[in-house]
Subunit: 340 residues, 2 copies
């Protein structure tokens, strides 16, 4: 990919969409030139002393820090757990690095830490190492958190976007758009008829259920965060060298989220999720895996929303409510900055 | 330790000194309640799939980003490599997470990435996973970097501050104060007779030499970064339950650094280093390890600067040039914010 033409960083370079792809694939990855990094997975998987480990990192700059359904602490722990889980890895240990703005209330820090602890406890993962930095007033916006994590790849798991085959079912674990719209409504002070809460959650328990249901049948998994489901499907299509066919009606969206998206003119397919996964499952095993996912509290609204198909253009094509089709491209621009 | 009495975060909470200890040991560690974290090492060491691994994290908020002897990219890679090396672990894989301010020059990003790459290549470590976030103008100060890392603990290495014994020699690998004074002089536009450059460097090659020279004789190792040698020695004294006797004359300080410290009224013992280590070595093996260290380009000015001693108060006591002694306490306040 070409390096970005812009001479300065734009908000869109952090959006998860096309501009970020240009920055990451056109500048950062070529500079660092490493095959594991070039895979551009949510995590790197490699051998370490005979063990098959996963390693991942994410910084969180979400604004506001506290929002319906969660806060930056829960988000940081869940996000990194999920990046490990998407590689079929059981999360083992996390790091926690804080960048604090001078003047940040100690009580808020305590609240965030309690949330970090609770989120880690749910998955049985430990915060084993950390770091604390402070910058002067206006040197940072309140609090940024980096969580990195290591995990052990589960026996029999072989999750790799290049394993996706034509005919694979696209399984979505639940409703989309909840996290992004919760942040937006909090940030802008919108009130909707029904409250919208972030879906932030640890997906490892759901992954464990899926891997147990049909070991080897789960070819790829991703949690559609920044850029939403549309961007994630485009990324997988490109890396698998396939197209995607999406049945838009089948994609679950909460009524309140759909309403908020309509008011703001945003397509829920592009809105960030923090507790949902999309999996590519061998056609023959899809119903068994779907049943297993639906049996778990995190997956009650799961659905098969489409299939991978042969397509040399690697298009994601949605079949619309009205019987037509449209091309679903990657996110362009950044309608929702600092969503995570 | 008591939780901090302050109701807001102060710059001193990031200094590496007493206030940071209160924040970390009085608030953060109790909240997260994990024995590996409570060890407060530069890294956590644990079993993962049968391998003995080290895991560490650090965020870098140094200002300015470019300084004599290095930049934030080199610093971030070296710092995390060094935190692994101080556990006797060979660095294997690093993560790189960028928080960019909108408007940050693309050319500066490219320069930092080249520096990241060069620093990683020297140690043969790879950047295998990453993350990129962008915040709006004034939401962050230009660029913050988090690097986390995983490594494999070397056979025979058993580095643990609780292994330090009375009589252990305190081996310092070279001059102190270079990094902190390089940042200060750049930041404040000071010019001294001789230029002062940061000592930022990967210490793993030096550690490898030390472990080969006397396996098992190296009881503890730390790189004295924020808070300087004085704070590091106080931390080790407390954790080992011992005192320290420091021969101040033996501590190497470059003439230009000593001069700059005098002008600024700062004791070089409290100034950050980014390419030096302090090791506690069994008395009988100290000369052999010193000779090995001096044989390496990074350790030419290495010296034995003191000994661990019995002391129920866990004091670090310096024998001064004038034949007297003084208690060397931990850093209080933060004379040099955003040094790393």
């Amino acid at each position: 990919m070409r390096r970005p033409r812009e001479r300065e960083i734009l908000l869109a370079h952090g959006s998860g969409g096309r501009a970020m792809h240009q920055l990451v694939e056109g500048l950062i990855v070529p500079q660092l030139d490493n095959p594991l990094l070039a895979r551009l997975g949510d995590q790197a998987i490699f051998e370490l002393g005979g063990a098959r480990v996963a390693f991942t990192t994410d910084s969180y700059v979400v604004s506001p820090l506290f929002f319906p359904g969660g806060d930056i602490g829960a988000l940081a722990v869940h996000g990194t757990i999920n990046d490990l889980a998407m590689g079929g890895a059981r999360p083992v240990a996390l790091s926690l690095a804080l960048i604090l703005e001078e003047g940040f209330p100690m009580a808020d820090l305590e609240r965030v830490l309690a949330s970090v602890r609770a989120a880690a406890d749910v998955t049985g993962v430990h915060i084993v190492t950390g770091d604390t930095k402070v910058v002067g007033r206006h040197g940072a916006d309140k609090l940024f958190i980096n969580t990195s994590g290591v995990g052990l790849v589960a026996d029999g798991a072989h999750i790799d976007e290049r394993r996706v085959q034509p005919g694979d079912a696209i399984l979505l674990s639940g409703t989309i758009g909840d996290h992004g719209m919760a942040i937006m409504s909090q940030r802008e002070g919108f009130t909707f008829q029904a409250p919208i809460a972030s879906d932030t959650a640890s997906l490892w328990p759901l992954v464990e259920v899926m891997l147990a249901a049909a070991p080897g049948a789960v070819h790829a998994m991703r949690d559609p965060t920044r850029g939403g489901l549309a961007t994630t499907l485009n990324e997988i299509a490109a890396r698998a060298g396939l197209g995607m066919r999406l049945q838009e009606r089948a994609v679950p969206v909460r009524e309140a989220v759909r309403g908020a998206c309509e008011i703001l003119g945003i397509d829920p397919l592009y809105v960030a999720n923090e507790g949902k996964l999309v999996a590519f499952v061998e056609a023959g095993a899809a119903q068994a895996v779907l049943a297993a996912v639906r049996g778990h509290p995190l997956g009650r609204e799961a659905a098969i929303v489409g299939q991978a198909v042969e397509d040399p253009r690697h298009y994601v094509i949605a079949e619309t409510d009205f019987g037509g089709t449209r091309i679903v491209d990657m996110l362009a621009g950044d309608p929702l900055p600092r969503i995570c």
